[in-house]
Symmetry: none
Subunit: 219 residues, 2 copies
DNA sequence: TGTTGCCGTGACCAATGTATGATAAACCAT
DNA sequence: ATGGTTTATCATACATTGGTCACGGCAACA
């Protein structure tokens, strides 16, 4: 899952980035409104964390621009606590959720996960599809036989994206974009290699190959 | 839009009901968890407002039961203010949004509308003609008997062009030009071969031959 | 009814995309 | 740094596909 954080506070931004990366997100960070807006237009993020008080361009404006251009990426807005009118404004500008500062990281994490699930039309706390259950907190997976496997970072990011988009054809390009962040440009067969590893863990049939098109996850 | 409110507070429930009805919703009200759960299962609501502190059965449990039964109606959870762990639990149980009590009605409205809007944004990438349904996203086709077939790239491109031009006579030259990007100078029988393959999948009569002129697709 | 040319069909192979094991490089905690 | 784990790359083996061909059949026309 790729995440964009737009936050100018130098003591908060990098901390958030690190924290979210620990939980298996590929994170890009922008420290002002203009950069943030462009990045949000160019890269295919699965969710955005947007501070409202930003230098160069206010967060509300960034959000409005995105929505005006039909960019409907899920956006969680960070606001000052108890400024409910500000939050209503944020909602009207197209935010999907908000969180008042200061906040607990765990709550932020849960909300981001909820946003992504909602965007992918999934429900439920334990992430399950078919016989396969993914524990997003412990980054491990339980297969059809009930055996639990620990996942490495990349394995987890890939499997999670698959499980959030079951039944869809996912091209290697798409998968690469959602598993890795901005700095990486892979023209290699990493995805093939990790698909193979996931198949070793979960069984051959869990991921189906569509030659020339991509892969399909089937629980 | 049909709305279910599950709220036991007699000073809040009826008020909410009235308020939401003023804004064009058809509202049912349940004042305990058991009734609420049953109503949510039986009636097709567009959204649910669910209080967590309920008599007879806790709201969290109601929500979990629904989700376990694959009932993915959008649910907005009402929680006590500042009980962030409670909100985390709510999200994990499958809530789509929450609101801390006390709240402003305007904010509740905005959120409910956002929820419904999101849920209705169904994307059906299927293309149907007669008994044949083409899934343009998964590149597969469902025939008259309900059997689903996967299509290879060329099969898909050809069938798609047929289905976008049903009833028309399509010459092999035309088909070649639309299935292949540039080189229409194929003096081969590729089209014949692929027409044959499509007929094998979907039945003889789906594509009719017009000797010397071309083919006609008939759903 | 015979001739002509278009179409249907199964077999076939080369091109292209994918799988996989081995290996090297990067990373991380001690 | 050190040892162990994770990640990426490469070379090669493998599988599917797209497209060709030869031949047999059928339709239209004389």
């Amino acid at each position: 899952m790729r995440l964009l954080i737009v936050e100018d506070d130098v003591s908060l931004g990098p901390l958030l980035k690190k924290e979210m990366e620990r939980h298996g997100f590929a994170v890009d960070l922008a420290d002002n409104g203009v950069d943030g807006e462009i990045m949000g237009e160019v890269e295919p993020y699965d969710a955005v964390i947007l501070d409202l008080g930003l230098p160069k361009r206010p967060g509300i404006e960034v959000l409005q621009h995105w929505r005006a251009k039909k960019n409907d990426v899920p956006v969680l807005v960070l606001t000052a606590r108890d400024a409910w009118h500000e939050r209503v404004d944020g909602f009207k500008a197209g935010a999907d959720d908000y969180l008042g500062k200061p906040f607990h990281t765990e709550e932020l994490l849960v909300r981001i996960n909820a946003l992504i699930k909602r965007a992918n039309k999934q429900t439920g706390g334990t992430f399950k599809h078919g016989d396969i259950t993914l524990d997003e907190e412990r980054q491990c997976v339980v297969d059809a036989t009930g055996t639990s496997h620990e996942l490495t970072g990349t394995e987890f990011r890939l499997l999670r994206y698959f499980m959030h988009n079951p039944g869809k054809i996912l091209s290697k390009t798409i998968l690469t974009e959602h598993v890795y962040d901005y700095d990486s440009d892979k023209d290699s067969n990493v995805i093939e290699v990790y698909v193979k590893r996931l198949r070793q863990l979960l069984g051959k049939d869990v991921i189906e190959t569509r030659r020339g098109q991509g892969y399909i996850f089937r629980g």
